[in-house]
Symmetry: C2
Subunit: 195 residues, 2 copies
């Protein structure tokens, strides 16, 4: 159900078309939740059927049209209900740790590449999230700007702070991944792999 709530979260800032949502999933919100277009369009239709959002066909260019969805009161209620419900944790499923546990079967060079790739991946994510935090802090983020429009300074600060805090959590975790992978590189150098 998180996809549905990610969509509701987005639509609390402003009405959007499926394509707008798709774009957001590739950048901003996509840094915490991603979904492909093949998942987005059908889900939006289902949500409209369930009354959580309402779609309005608006003209686009001369002949084209597009469908813009707005969150309904029932949608806001459903979103808040989700936020107020205790989280459910899924069982662990960590392919990276699974691999690491069996590196005695791997070639040392491949193991080193594996850790280097891990460091690179998480470094790139940190750069994304730091940039995101920057645009949140200086309010140059258009979605945030729309969101805090007409709100008091206190409210604007609160809205911003939670978003920054979420991305800070992502960064902190990625930093631990990098430190772990660096330890992994040392380990591989010291122990090697298959004999």
């Amino acid at each position: 159900m998180s996809l549905r709530n990610a969509l509701l979260a987005m639509l609390t800032s402003q009405p959007m078309t499926g394509y707008d949502v798709y774009k957001n999933f590739q950048t901003s919100v996509g840094y915490v939740w991603h979904a492909p277009d093949s998942q987005i369009y059908p889900e939006l239709r289902r949500m409209e059927q369930d009354g959580l959002i309402s779609g309005e066909t608006v003209p686009w260019g001369k002949r084209g049209t597009k469908k813009r969805y707005s969150i309904t009161d029932a949608g806001v209620e459903s979103f808040q209900e989700w936020l107020n419900t205790p989280p459910e944790y899924q069982r662990e499923r960590d392919p990276v740790r699974l691999r690491a546990a069996y590196l005695e079967w791997a070639e040392p060079a491949a193991s080193a590449d594996f850790f280097r790739a891990h460091i690179e991946y998480h470094s790139a994510r940190i750069a994304d999230w730091e940039e995101m935090i920057r645009t949140l802090r200086d309010h140059s983020n258009p979605t945030l700007a729309r969101r805090i429009e007409g709100k008091s300074d206190e409210e604007a600060e609160r809205i911003t702070a939670y978003k920054v805090f979420a991305y800070e959590g992502m960064i902190a975790r990625a930093e631990v991944e990098i430190a772990w992978a660096e330890k992994g590189l040392e380990l591989v150098e010291r122990l090697g792999g298959q004999s």
Copy 2:
């Protein structure tokens, strides 16, 4: 494909029945990878068809039988190929961070409960993994004992070290989650939620 590789990883230590695998997924290996029995039995059958493992029907009690699977040479090769291949990262999909980013819509009490649940969950996982590391370090872990049987001290140390290292990675990440959630509690206290 990680389920398949988790199964191969397990079977590198010793032949096992589907039920043995299921048990392991509830404890030891289950702390990095989990799968329900409804996924395990069909996957083992598919792996046998693909020649990665071979099943042997052995008697169990007076009339009962069970099927014990052993990894084949092709299975070891496939497992090593996976270990030697660069990792693929899936797009982010983090329900906890998604929620955190929108806590201005939640009730402060529910937000605090959310962070407290997060701390509790990760504290429990740390306890599991620390216990796991203990049984690996003192070689009282039966699966590890089987795995290092007849191996040199150096090899035994290497095998153990990678497993300990993997669990240490899980612990490090969980500790960051706890620290983040503690910051979250402060934030909620300072900022509150919906007005």
